[in-house]
Structure formats: C-alpha cells, structure tokens
Amino acid sequence: MKRFRRVYYDLFSRWYDRIIAMHSGDASARARDFLVERAGVGAGGRVLDLCTGTGAVALRARRTTGPDGLVVGLDFSTGMIGRARAKAGQSPTSPAASPPVSSAASSPTLPAAEEARPAASPGLGFVVGDASRLPFGDGSFDVVTCSHAMYELGPEVRGGVLAEARRVLRPGGRFVMMEHTEPSHPVTRFLYGVRLAAMGSAKNRDFARDERPFLARHFADVTLELSSTARSKLVRGVKGA
C-alpha cells in the first residue's frame, strides 16, 4: 500500500504545483507565512517539514532561518523531493532548466521569488524518508511542521508520526500542523469529506473536527488557531521537558 502511494505521489509531483496554484493561488502563500510566523522560529533556527511535498513550506521557512539555520524537508516520494530541490535551485542535473511550475497557471501575484530561490540555498536540505520512522537524532529540531498532510496519514500511522515528531524536537520545541478548516460550501464540504474518508477511515473525521486531543497525547500546551480568512487552522503543541 505504501509502495503504491509512493508511486502515486511520484507521478502527482509533476502537476502538483500547478493544481494547487489553480485552486488556491496566493492564499496558500499567505497560509505558509502564517504557519512559519506562528511556528516561532527565527534566524539560525532548525526546522523539519514533514511530508514536504514540493517543498513550499520548507522554502518559506528557509527564508526565515537563513543560511546559518537548517531546514529539512522530508517526503517519502522521490518525485516530490526532486521537484522541491529544483525549486530550491539544488537540482544537480537541471538547476535552471526545470519549468517555472508555480507561475505557469497562476496570477502574477503569486510569489514567484519565493518559489525560485537563488541557487544552492545553504541551510536547506531534502531527505526521502518515512514520517513514522524519522532518520534524525533525538532533539535535532526547534520546530517540526506538517502542512496539509496529517489527514492523509490515516489514523493508524498518525500516532507514530506524532511520537517521532516529539522525539526529534528539543525540549521546548514546537510541533505545528496546518490544515484546511471544514469548508462551508456544500460542494467543497462534500469533497473534503471524500478526502478524509478516502485517505483513512471514518475516524479521520474525529481528528479533523478537533485535532487537539490527539496532539495532547504527545505535546503540552496544545492550541488551535484560525487564519485571518478562517480557511486554515493551525494546531500547535510544545514538547515538555
């Protein structure tokens, strides 16, 4: 099953940014700003972005942490990671040859500069790995982020991912996840329900309604906050001593 899903995401990586840009545009860039601001990380900070996909959050976090920090984007799809590295100017084969995926089908207001970081981006790295079996030592990060992926993980894997996120955080470090709120429009609400059901089981709905009790099993001071548009929600927890 996992192998199948990796193949799916490897293929999906080719169109992913275009699809996301089509239906959210710069709203998703604002949501990433919100996520990184609330993560409370500064220059020199260390961030792990789980299920990084094509690296949008990792690239945004790198803007804040700078060359002296470390941002690691992790995904189990080689295709997604390849895209992410190309966007970061780190692709060894074709640094500039990759198509400008983010601006292809979107408005000029999309922050293309963010997507096309200057070459190399020191302090930013990508790893292919399994979020439930993280290849990092204990206490390696100040912040672990996970944007729009916790629902996909399914209830049986999620607990393991949260435990691993806690392990790789330093004491006092923060786990921050972002998701869409339940849409109010009936059609998008229906599609949202399909997404939750398709990726796991009916139990996914409980998690999506309120993630706080699930996070509280692993983290202290769990809070939930809505973005200014109320379309995204951010759930945060702190690793206790």
């Binding site: 084969t93 302090g123 292919v128 079996r133 990092f136």
Partner: protein, 60 residues
C-alpha cells in the same frame, strides 16, 4: 550534502549512527547492516530502499 544535515541523520530503523561512505554514496548503519543510498544528492532513508551489507563489509 549540507554538513549540518549530515550531522543529525541517523538510521531510521535503530536510530543509531551512520557512516558516510563518500565514494559509494551511501550512509551505512553497521548495527542494522544496511546501506542507505544517496541519489542525486538526496539521502534515501527508507529501509526498503537500503542495501543489505555483504558478510565481508566491515566497519571502515
């Protein structure tokens, strides 16, 4: 690969230390006897993608 990233990487199975074999482009866990490949400069830290060490492969 970023030096800071290399410093925090461990074996995803046992969380033990890894040995970076630059020539082979591998990260080796001698505890699990697994060699994780580095492909296009990306560490692939999945057990199912790792190579099992041969009986003659000793710690460097």
């Amino acid at each position: 690969m970023d030096k800071k990233l290399l410093e925090i990487l461990v074996c995803p199975v046992c969380k033990g230390p890894l040995t970076y074999r630059r020539a082979e482009l591998e990260l080796v866990c001698f505890g699990c006897r697994l060699a994780y490949p580095i492909r296009d400069e990306i560490p692939v830290m999945l057990e199912e993608e790792a190579r099992t060490l041969g009986p003659d492969e000793k710690r460097d």
